[in-house]
């Protein structure tokens, strides 16, 4: 089995698990599953820029939060918002912002890029925290969950199970997109530009343009996840944009492994489940999370999925 096969297998397994969730659990567990699914989508989007594009961003929570705020501003005060319209607008607005941020940041490489994204993320945080737009530090409530309005068909997403099913649908569409992009010619070019920029230039491609496109796609998906999160909780706050969340998403990517599509999703699931269990056990659960991160970085620096893949010998390895 190659890494690709394991990756695809894990994705199918996750899809099956996601389908089964509403039939196995109810109430609180479904809400937890919704949160985890949204975070997994964010981690997969971030994994796409961190892995193939080689761009370590500590600012993705800003796109997550920005789309959430756009939704809060677009949502009417006295009736449910039209989901498809507002989702599209929020994601497009986030993509435009990401194009500007990316165009400036991607000129810087390595550490400068990491710190650029950190600065832009904090800029976003302070924008909503300090300027009074979107309710300042207190945030804004969204009183109605949006509903899907198609011609002749209104689908309400009230209730934990229907909303969860809708969230998994969107997240799986996003994950499938990332999976396809990673395997496409575009994905190969990104990897090639990461590993040997000069050669890709010599082939006539612009590494800058490739990375920018990847960055915008990733930020747009992160935005869609932020929208879903705002719709789930009915509340947005500046903390959604804070760099802690960006770093946490990065932790998910690393725990699972940045070089596969399923890795970041599995990282998100494991981290959030660990959080949930530790929170039940102790008030000081962050100690546990901190220890887990430190141990994984030291023991399995490539992430869990590649770590597991080592136990499935490839055909080539068997011949050798």
């Amino acid at each position: 089995m190659s890494k690709d096969h394991i990756d695809a297998g894990l994705l199918v397994a996750l899809a099956v698990l996601a389908l089964l969730v509403p039939y196995i659990w109810s109430g609180y567990e479904i809400k937890l599953a919704t949160t985890i699914t949204i975070q997994a989508g964010l981690a997969v989007a971030l994994g796409f820029v961190v892995g193939p594009a080689g761009l370590i961003s500590i600012g993705h929570a800003a796109f997550f939060g920005l789309a959430a705020y756009l939704f809060a501003m677009l949502a009417p005060a006295s009736e449910p918002a039209n989901l498809l319209n507002t989702l599209l607008l929020a994601v497009c607005g986030t993509a435009v912002c990401a194009a500007v941020v990316g165009a400036i940041s991607i000129r810087s490489r390595g550490l400068y890029f990491i710190l650029m994204t950190l600065a832009f993320g904090q800029l976003g945080y302070h924008f909503f925290h300090d300027t009074g737009i979107g309710g300042s530090a207190d945030g804004t409530y969204i009183y109605f969950r949006p509903e899907v309005r198609l011609p002749g068909l209104d689908i309400s997403l009230d209730g934990a199970a229907p909303f969860y099913q809708f969230v998994s649908l969107v997240v799986f569409a996003a994950v499938a997109l990332v999976w396809w992009l990673r395997r496409s010619a575009f994905g190969s070019l990104l990897v090639a530009a990461r590993d040997n920029e000069m050669r890709i230039r010599a082939f006539g491609y612009s590494p800058y343009a490739l990375r920018l496109v990847a960055f915008v796609i990733s930020a747009a998906i992160a935005g869609a996840m932020g929208y879903l999160s705002a719709a789930q909780h009915g509340f947005v706050a500046p903390e959604m944009l804070a760099w802690h969340n960006s770093a946490t998403a990065l932790v998910m990517v690393l725990i699972g492994g940045k070089d596969t599509t399923s890795g970041p999703a599995i990282g998100a699931i494991l981290l959030l489940l660990a959080e949930e269990l530790l929170q039940r056990a102790t008030e000081h659960w962050l100690v546990g999370i901190g220890l887990i991160i430190v141990v994984i970085v030291i023991a399995a620096p490539q992430g869990i999925v590649p770590y597991l893949a080592r136990f499935f010998p490839t055909r080539r390895a068997q011949h050798a």
């Binding site: 370590i56 390595g110 400068y112 950190l118 600065a119 800029l123 924008f127 770093a247 901190g290 430190v294």
Partner: protein, 290 residues
Amino acid sequence: MSAFFFFVQLLNAVQFGLVLYLVASGLTLLLGIMGVINLAHGAFYMVGAYLAFAVVQHLASFWLALPLAIVLGLVLGALLEHFLLARLEGADHLSQVLLSFGLILLINEAQRIIFGNDAHGIEVPAPLNFSIPLSETFAYPAYRLFVCGVGIAFVIALGLVMGRTRIGMMLRASAENRTMARALGVDAKLMYLGVTAAGISCAVLAGVIAAPIASVYPGMGDQVLILSFVVIVLGGIGSLNGALVGALLLGAVDAFGKQFFPDFAAFLVYVAMIAVLIVRPQGLFRGTGA
């Protein structure tokens, strides 16, 4: 706007800038010489502030915290390098980012376990708890001048060590070309241990010194961490002179920003950084690039 008002803000700018430099110089040395990005640097600053709080509480003397901070910083830095960073040698920045993020969570939570969630104030220690009158309406606290003095002494000392001593020469050589310096007989392991210990020590010391000015609260390291990163990016990663210029610039943006645009002061810092990086993507001064 009177000249005194301007002068007071200028002093505030220099004082804040020098505290930032104390933190950022350690960060930039780690980056320039070892290529290590340490997000936990701000957490060590917080450790210093809480150390000051604990020492004032239990030993009733602020001044004891200064030597204790240096020793504690050296020990913590040496442990960090020996047990964690040394194992990550050759790994990419991503691993360092995550390791140090894990450390932030551990240090922040340890602080909550020991000291709880409350914010604390520390009284300005005698004999510096008086103000120097500048005019009939303006006075300047003596303790802030003391902070400026410590900062200036640190700038001069670090400049002398880096520029005039054999150790400084080896550090500069390592920042320029790690592999070549090693080939010429620089003991990398010992140097990394020394740099990390000294860098962390500076951060802890900065926390102690800043404690009587800023209040002591959970998560206080974050703000300083991100500002320090802005400082070293502004100056050019790995460049100490750049970090000094960046720190003073940021001090000025902060002090004057708070007076003229109180709602946007935090905002302006990032706008300044992004503006500089648009014009000069590698910072104001030539750093080592890392």
